[in-house]
Amino acid sequence: MSKVLMKGNEALAEAAMRCGCRFFFGYPITPQTELAAYMAKKMQKNGGTFLQAESEVAAINMVYGAAGAGARVMTSSSSPGISLKQEGISYIAGADLPCLVVNIVRGGPGLGGIQPAQSDYFQATKGGGHGDYHLLVFAPSSVQELADMTSRAFDKADEYRMPAMIMGDGMLGQMMEPVEFKEFADPASLPAKPWATTGTGMKRKKNIINSLYLTPEELENLCVEREKRYDKIRATEYLYEEIDTEDADIIIAAYGTIARVAMSAVQQAREMGIKAGLIRPITLWPFPTEAFAKRAETAKCFLSVEMSMGQMVEDVRLSVNGKKPVYFYGRTGGMVPEQDAIVAEIEKCLKNS
């Protein structure tokens, strides 16, 4: 297939349908509206179901039901709506169900604003809902990567039987870039889900989708089993991109949209003779700890650049493990760090270390 020019929000929706997602349950919120609108327009034509629920809470529970019934299913929302979905996400994780949740992040807390932000990092990577669980969290930084990560997120969610999240923001959602899609996959060709509640057909024992375990030993065992899965994911499923890090004195950590600005800042710094590099986590959970640990041996310092008051910086610090200073620069509330400001911050950090 040749390239098409498409908005990020629409590309995500198209990619989801192409990889066999036939069920979308959502609730309107800015700035993810194009995604749902695109689904509303195309899902039925593709033989699927688009349903606007009465609330985010209902939408995520419809996802729970459909995922438990064996479907490749998704929902999308933005920060305040994702907060409402946390109950369902925790249940989905507790019942070991695969699904995709898209968060087109906006400024917070509370109703916040509608401009791009990354202030939901903690919520996405450190829990959000209650209990010992994780989401696979993908943070693409281009429209093509958004499409690619959508199908990967579904596949990995199925593989590990857990919910996956794509974190984007309004900028990535509104931006148009050329994108090449995979061919349409037949949902019937997806891996079988023998655990799903499809009706026994009197051919097997009953299946139960559940997250309730009143015996503490049983619940602990399940959490331990799940943690083993998480450990495997931590060891094998992290993704990141490295730019100009080998000889870098300072390494920027940035993900998603702002990583693009950081990329330009690194280039600008290089033109000024500063040895700057970039590590761009593509998965936020699992976090690419190794990439930072390795460069902690060679770089003089690190700078986490975020559209938040400093959230990912904590994971960068844990990864660098005290070996080198880790600084932070961010704007929040819908403000986007400017390229010049990042370059100025790079100079300041190098002076300090």
Partner: protein
């Protein structure tokens, strides 16, 4: 010797966790009998609530999903949209359905979602130890209304069957009771009618069942059955509140 009475095949041999004298067990059994008689065991997916029936996935022998508090109609919607050929029902209490899950219930009905809801109304939160429910009667003493439910403080009970029957998307709505053998028979007929309504693709159905909670009411099982008749029925009259099953349904 011929066996003339047995456990319905759709009911497992799990020991029910309901208190002695509670009529939940009767309603569980009626659901299982209807599923058996309609030959739907292999096509049924049930959704249990949070409350006394929270572990009902153990009691039934067909596929089950456990939902978060109040979310059963949304979960059932998800299941039904994926497998429209299945019988999908929720089994919910009054706190689950009429307090925390009011929105999910009303909107499933408004969408004419082709699912069935078995709504067990015993005017109290049983599982958590007897707190006021949205259906608690005015004057009813509960753990959280120790001096009785007062209109000026807690307002009035919700009449679910009446409320849902006002929605165009609801196809069949009936209130029944399990206080006596004749009424238990009527309850079974209502559940069957609801499931038939769904399997014929006619739309949303809800059966409200007046039920007991001897433990939290502080009554003997016999007194509890009597309370259904003397206190609950005057507030929650039995009967069919809506029936479009003869006219082809609401979808």
């Amino acid at each position: 010797m011929e066996k003339i009475f047995d456990r319905p095949h759709s009911l497992s041999d799990f020991v029910l966790s309901y208190c002695p004298g509670c009529t939940h067990g009767v309603i569980n059994r009626l659901v299982a009998e209807v599923v058996d008689e309609m030959g739907l065991e292999g096509k049924t997916v049930g959704v249990c609530p949070v409350g006394c029936s929270v572990t009902a996935y153990n009691f039934f022998e067909f596929d089950m999903q456990e939902a978060a508090h109040g979310r059963a109609p949304a979960v059932a919607t998800g299941i039904k949209r994926v497998h429209p050929e299945n019988l999908v029902f929720t089994y919910q209490g009054d706190g689950d359905l009429a307090a925390i899950g009011t929105a999910e219930t009303v909107h499933a009905a408004a969408r004419a979602e082709n699912i069935s809801i078995i709504f067990v109304n015993n005017t109290i939160y049983g599982m958590t130890g007897g707190q006021m429910a949205p259906t608690s009667l005015v004057g009813q003493v509960t753990q959280t209304t120790p001096y009785g439910r007062k209109v000026e403080n807690q307002g009035y009970p919700i009449h679910v069957a009446e409320m849902i029957s006002t929605l165009r998307g609801a196809c069949y709505v009936e209130r029944v009771s399990v206080d006596s053998v004749p009424n238990i028979k009527k309850t079974k007929a209502a559940i069957r009618k609801a499931f038939e309504c769904q399997m014929a693709g006619k739309g949303f159905s809800l059966v409200e069942v007046l039920s007991t909670c001897p433990t939290n009411w502080g009554m003997s099982p016999v007194e509890a059955l009597e309370r259904i008749r003397t206190e609950m029925m005057p507030e929650f009259p039995l009967g069919v509140y809506k029936d479009c099953t003869e006219t082809g349904g609401v979808r």
